[in-house]
């Protein structure tokens, strides 16, 4: 698995350092928006944790669509091809809680995805001001999952925290619509990310995060889902 990530990162670096003979210019694309996430196992784990409460708690949020960002460096080839690599970031989480006059019990889960990989974009409609492109990314996806449960009852309390990580390959395909403004372009992009799921392991001891009902199965992170982002493209000559 690690070999694949090394290849991906090497590919991104290679694409960025391709001979400039046909490269006209380069630039950066900064995007920010929202993405949805499948996170089936995390929702399952959240349900399980809630079932261990001694009182009837409730899930107040369960891995909803949340922030997604990316920063991509690229080189432009033949006016219609952009090749590069970059970093993408997504975050989401969940919370279950119970509170009454005597105290509260809360479980918070925070998941963060850091993706590093290659980027490719191909212009399919090239207007004077508007460009429509197909784009894709291949990434190594590092997930960090933080689970914290705490309770406070009158003046007593306790807190338990666990941190897990996973690594998985992911890729996305989408469309970019850019409005050209000389050296700058503003636009929107949307697409679908497929995450091949990564087994979650405890960051301290490396123990897998097992399914509480089936010890043979390891729970996974899954960032598969739709995304929609605003984008700013800055070109360098």
């Amino acid at each position: 698995m690690n070999k694949h990530f090394t290849y991906l990162i090497a590919l991104a670096l290679l694409l960025l350092s391709m001979p400039p003979a046909r490269a006209q210019k380069g630039g950066f694309i900064l995007t920010g928006g929202i993405a949805s996430f499948r996170m089936t196992d995390m929702k399952y784990l959240q349900e399980y944790i809630l079932s261990t409460y001694p009182v009837e708690g409730r899930i107040t949020s369960s891995f909803p669509p949340y922030t997604s960002l990316s920063l991509t460096g690229f080189k432009q080839y033949y006016d219609y091809l952009r090749v590069g690599g970059g970093y993408s970031y997504s975050t989401t989480g969940g919370k279950s809680s119970y509170q009454d006059y005597s105290g509260q019990i809360v479980t918070e889960m925070n998941a963060t995805s850091h993706r590093l990989g290659a980027y490719l974009s191909y212009v399919i409609l090239d207007g004077d001001w508007l460009d429509l492109s197909l784009s894709g990314r291949l990434d190594a996806n590092y997930t960090s999952l933080f689970i914290e449960s705490h309770y406070r009852i009158y003046n007593a309390g306790n807190r338990i925290t666990n941190q897990y990580r996973s690594i998985s390959p992911s890729g996305c395909i989408g469309v970019e619509l850019m409005y050209e403004l000389n050296q700058l372009a503003l636009g929107v992009e949307g697409g679908y990310l497929v995450d091949l799921k990564g087994n979650l392991k405890d960051t301290d001891d490396g123990d897998p995060l097992q399914d509480p009902y089936d010890r043979e199965r390891v729970l996974t992170s899954d960032w598969t889902g739709w995304y929609a982002r605003f984008s700013i493209l800055i070109k360098f000559r």
Binding site: V55, K95, Q99, S102
Partner: protein, 138 residues
């Protein structure tokens, strides 16, 4: 601009401030009764020592704890509903009447978080005036 930047930065970290607040629906409180061998005595006297026996009964709840206090000090504690302990003339501050407090703690049945974890309790307090006789002191 700064506000926008701060709002943008905060959205980079997932947060959920919602809390599920509940008004617990209480069950009937437990039926609790307790008796001691001092119940039939008026100003029991202690020349040297006196054994105190107690028996508690609880229905529809859980007994947590019992302790006895005399002259500001805990002289006995237990989590049993049945038991006995000794008080001696040394335990009193001085000769004469002193009060023996016996506190029994048991579940509230409020169904709150505090109730479920045993962090809240109803208390039954018994008080007995004990006559410590100077002649009983060594």
């Amino acid at each position: 601009m700064a506000i926008l930047l701060l709002a943008g930065l905060s959205s980079c970290f997932y947060t959920d401030s919602d809390m599920y607040f509940v008004e617990p629906v209480a069950d009937d409180p437990p039926v609790f009764s307790v008796g001691t061998n001092l119940d039939t005595l008026l100003y029991p006297e202690v020349f040297d020592s006196l054994e105190v026996e107690y028996i508690a009964e609880i229905t529809g709840g859980e007994f947590y704890y019992f302790y006895a206090r005399l002259a500001g000090s805990v002289v006995f504690e237990s989590d049993s509903t049945l038991g006995s302990f000794w008080i001696t003339s040394f335990m009193a501050d001085s000769a004469g009447i002193d009060t023996l407090y016996m506190n029994f703690y048991y579940s509230t049945n409020t169904n709150s978080l505090g109730d479920k974890f045993g962090y809240e309790a109803l208390v039954e307090e018994l008080k007995y005036a004990i006559d410590f006789k100077p002649g009983g002191k060594k």
